[in-house]
């Protein structure tokens, strides 16, 4: 049985599971929408102010929504013992971890990416910045899932992992947030954005190659 087949099978399993617990999946998306919709009500509907803040608000909301869902990457598998079986499978664990992270991103990251332009429009973001917003989220949100997987893998054995998970993961999220929001800001002011996007792409390349291995080792420690 090839590694690729196992990757696809595990990815399909996680997507099928997501389909059967739709409410859980809709949660982060609702959170994302609510934060952005409530924001103008809180700070006042002054168009200039909202437009200037829109990049940061969308990015912060996406980041917190991602943080909210992290635990689901490994928690339920840990509780019902399927994670043990994954560790004992005849496939490289890092590839299996990658399959789970990809599934997590497809279920939680991709929907955010798709509704983001609508919500950005709500905050009055300039239409020139929309493309960059999508691109920065496309490069940035997978990094959030990948880094988050390491944090969850380390804390999955603990009973109340919420706070420690945030403490572990948030500092690593900050660079993604800074460059993501900066790219959108620059695009809104008509400045070149290639630099910020390249850095986000570099983060993604690094996270893609290192995070699955790190998360796999962390899982081995958590389950021993």
């Amino acid at each position: 049985m090839s590694v690729w087949q196992a990757f696809i099978e595990l990815l399909r399993r996680d997507l099928r599971l997501a389909m059967r617990r739709r409410a859980e999946v809709a949660n982060p998306l609702l959170f994302f929408v609510m934060v952005i919709v409530l924001f103008p009500l809180g700070v006042g509907a002054e168009p200039n102010l909202l437009e200037r803040m829109s990049a940061g608000v969308v990015w912060v909301a996406a980041l917190l929504a991602a943080l909210l869902t992290l635990d689901s990457i490994f928690r339920s598998d840990f509780e019902d013992g399927t994670l043990e079986q994954l560790l004992l499978s005849a496939q490289p664990l890092s590839v299996m971890v990658l399959a789970k992270v990809v599934a997590h991103w497809l279920v939680t990251g991709l929907p955010l990416l798709l509704v983001a332009p609508l919500l950005a429009m709500l905050l009055g973001m300039k239409s020139e910045a929309m493309g960059t917003l999508m691109l920065s989220l496309l490069l940035g949100t997978p990094v959030l899932s990948l880094i988050g997987a390491i944090g969850v893998a380390l804390t999955v054995g603990l009973r109340r992992a919420g706070v420690i998970l945030s403490l572990l993961v948030l500092p690593l999220y900050v660079p993604v947030l800074i460059f993501g929001a900066a790219a959108v800001d620059a695009a809104a002011s008509g400045l070149p954005v290639a630099g910020q996007l390249y850095i986000l792409a570099a983060f993604l390349a690094m996270a893609l190659s290192l995070a699955p291995v790190a998360a796999a080792s962390a899982l081995r420690i958590s389950l021993s």
Binding site: M1, Q5, A6, E9, L10, R13, R16, L17, R20, R21, E79, D80, G81, T82, E84, Q85, L86, L87, L88, S89, A90, Q91, P92, M96, L223, S224
Partner: protein
């Protein structure tokens, strides 16, 4: 893959030691099991039966000593070892939202195909007709049997079972015992813990009491 499958099954723990929370569970413990043999771990609660099983299947590393599969330390032949070993622990390792069929298909893809197809395996554990129902709707005993069907769908030569009879009724226990007999007479090996009396008619049965060591 094939040369290991054809060669004799041999798992050996060489003077392993393990302590948990500063309490020594066992030290200088050596056990081995080969094809056609069943090793039954006995002992009171908290004597480290589950811990020893987790060490034997590679989920946990012993503090001292090592575990060898056909003479090779299991960390060095992890993929081969895992292909020929199946572990059913306290947790069923079954997704409640998925059907038994879907669950087993994933496990089979992860660990390689065995002698039985998934349908045959479900039939063998008397779950025929339940394959398309999410496991969530099955009873505890049926769920356990779905977990035990895992023993049949891969080509595992070594079964490591932690309390396999939990929540099974008398018929279920007999059924699993007969599966174990078939496995042992096909030169498979078995390591298990159980609070129930285990009646095996095939193979050589070895017992190890951890309370006494």
């Amino acid at each position: 893959m094939t040369d290991l499958a054809n060669s004799t099954v041999h798992l050996q723990a060489d003077s392993v030691e393990c302590s948990r929370d500063d309490r020594l569970l066992f030290e200088n413990l050596s056990v081995e099991v080969s094809g056609g043999e069943a090793l039954i771990l006995e002992g009171r609660n908290g004597t480290g039966k589950t811990t020893l099983l987790r060490i034997l299947c590679g989920l946990r590393r012993p503090d001292e000593g090592e575990v060898r599969w056909s003479g090779v330390p299991i960390e060095e032949c992890a993929v081969d070892f895992h292909r020929h070993m199946v572990y059913v622990g306290h947790l069923d390792g079954i997704k409640r939202e998925l059907t038994a069929l879907e669950n087993l298909r994933v496990l089979q893809t992860l660990s390689g195909r065995g002698r039985y197809t998934i349908e045959e395996a479900l039939e063998a554990v008397k779950l025929g007709g339940f394959e398309d129902i999410p496991v969530h709707f099955l009873s505890a005993g049926q769920k356990r049997r779905a977990a035990l069907a895992r023993l049949l769908v891969t080509d595992a030569r070594l079964w490591v079972l932690d309390e396999p009879f939990t929540s099974l009724d008398v018929h279920g226990i007999e059924l699993v015992e007969s599966l174990m007999d078939t496995h042992l007479s096909a030169a498979g090996a078995l390591v298990m813990t159980s609070h129930h009396q285990v009646h095996l008619s095939a193979g050589v049965v070895k017992r190890l009491n951890l309370s006494e060591s």
